[in-house]
């Protein structure tokens, strides 16, 4: 027999967990894409040394498990005097992780821009910053927008791991509830559905933003 009604008394626990996950997701998505954008621009247009540094960062993050990155930041860094709260450590770990993956994605977008676009901006007298923000970014992001959206959702789902350092997110709530009432099936099923709703909502938000940013595609 299944007893979903046993979860009702824990509604607040689920809601507060959901809120933490949403909060962290929104923050790290914004910060992660910002970080990825900067790194991608350096990787594509920067000097050799800074290009290498970004490459090392990207490869380091993409070739190690997220949970190890998280544990290193939370349990490892205090050894050199950097003590972070679980929430701070998670925020940093998620941002760095998304930053690395989105660097490669955004760079693919940047390299898809024909050289002629940059030359056209140059002969019109624009400086590099103006060229990047006015001429390159919009078409570049348009090309990789679906991939970037998926990556943000992957990171959101991966954030379940932060319950391991006792951040009270959605997964933490599920663990807590099932340890109290032993309704593992119900508890994790509801949690899975909540993640599904979150993923759909995040994709919806991305699509809405995309429609605005790339409106020129619609009117074509």
């Amino acid at each position: 027999m299944l007893h979903f009604s046993d979860l009702f008394q824990y509604t607040d626990v689920f809601l507060s967990g959901l809120l933490t996950t949403v909060e962290l997701t929104l923050l790290t998505t914004i910060l992660g894409i910002a970080l990825g954008t900067c790194c991608a621009a350096i990787r594509q247009y920067g000097h050799t040394v800074s290009q290498r540094l970004v490459a090392v960062y990207v490869e380091l993050i993409r070739n190690t498990p997220f949970i190890v990155q998280l544990f290193f930041i939370f349990f490892g860094l205090p050894a050199i005097g950097l003590k972070l709260t679980p929430w701070q450590a998670s925020m940093i770990a998620l941002t760095i992780n998304l930053g690395a993956y989105s660097t490669e994605i955004i760079r693919a977008g940047l390299s898809s821009i024909p050289k002629g676009q940059i030359e056209a901006a140059k002969v019109l007298g624009m400086n590099f910053r103006q060229t990047l923000t006015r001429v390159i970014f919009t078409p570049a992001f348009e090309k990789i927008y679906p991939a970037l959206t998926s990556q943000c959702i992957i990171v959101m789902l991966g954030s379940a791991v932060i319950s391991q350092i006792s951040v009270e997110d959605l997964t933490y709530a599920a663990n807590l509830v099932q340890s109290r009432n032993f309704r593992a099936f119900e508890s994790y099923l509801v949690t899975a559905l909540l993640y599904l709703v979150l993923a759909i909502a995040l994709r919806f938000i991305f699509n809405q933003i995309g429609k605005r940013l790339f409106a020129y595609r619609e009117v074509r």
């Binding site: 140059k122 002969v123 624009m126 074509r220």
Partner: protein, 242 residues
């Protein structure tokens, strides 16, 4: 004083010696056509004039100022040299109006209203006033190229460099672009064109420069040069294209 002056310009791509000592002197108001086989260095020459390509020896001056590829220099140059490309290079995410207004607003710091007025005037000039709010992809190649001309003109350049600007167009669209150029020439704009349009070079141009193997092989008055070429190479070239 000449508007554009090239003195013994040499350019190498690695070991490849592309420009072998170019001397050229262009006066304000002249329409100069640079012709020659592909690989003869004509586009490279054009791109050296506005600093898109660097050169290794010699000197180029524009209105008395030296041309280098230093970023800041390119931007100063942009204020006096306009360039139009074979592939138009309009910005796809902006309307025609926004394409033309962008540089005047962010480079020349004109107000939106002022830039819009200039954009409209320039579109009028190229016969596309009604396309102000269209996106480039909705236009034909010829229309896109005319927008690109309007975009360059909005910066009120002293010289307009045209890099094979009709080569990517369907044959029936070439005429509308050349007509705009002819009108500009009549208004006294200095034009330097890399072109394969021999009729245009002869009828509208003042001067033809024939490039061969990285050198100015032959140059002179356009009608005279094209009707009675002196060198075998030019004779052969004219025979091949006409």
């Amino acid at each position: 004083m000449s508007l554009v002056n090239l003195h013994q310009v040499h350019k190498y791509y690695g070991d490849n010696h592309v420009l072998k000592g170019i001397d050229l002197d262009i006066q304000a108001g002249e329409v100069v056509s640079i012709i020659g086989k592909s690989g003869s260095g004509k586009s490279t020459l054009l791109r050296c004039i506005n600093g898109l390509e660097e050169y290794q020896q010699g000197g180029i001056t524009l209105d008395g100022k030296e041309v280098t590829t230093e970023d800041i220099q390119v931007r100063c140059l942009a204020l006096s040299v306009g360039m139009i490309f074979q592939n138009f290079n309009l910005f796809p995410h902006m309307t025609v109006g926004e394409n033309i207004m962008l540089a005047p607003t962010i480079v020349l710091k004109k107000s939106k209203a002022e830039a819009a007025a200039v954009a409209k005037a320039m579109l009028e000039k190229v016969g596309l006033a009604e396309k102000f709010d269209s996106y480039p992809e909705k236009l034909s190649g010829g229309q896109q190229q005319r927008v690109a001309i309007a975009r360059a003109l909005a910066m009120s350049p002293k010289v307009l460099l045209c890099d094979e600007i009709t080569s990517a167009l369907d044959p029936e669209l070439v005429g509308e672009v050349l007509k705009v150029l002819e009108q500009l020439a009549q208004e006294g704009m200095t034009l330097i064109l890399v072109t394969h349009e021999m009729n245009f070079a002869r009828d509208v141009g003042n001067r033809v420069v024939f490039m061969h193997q990285g050198k100015v092989w032959e140059e002179g008055d356009s009608k005279q040069l094209l009707s009675s070429p002196q060198t075998d190479e030019l004779k052969q070239f004219i025979g091949a294209v006409l």
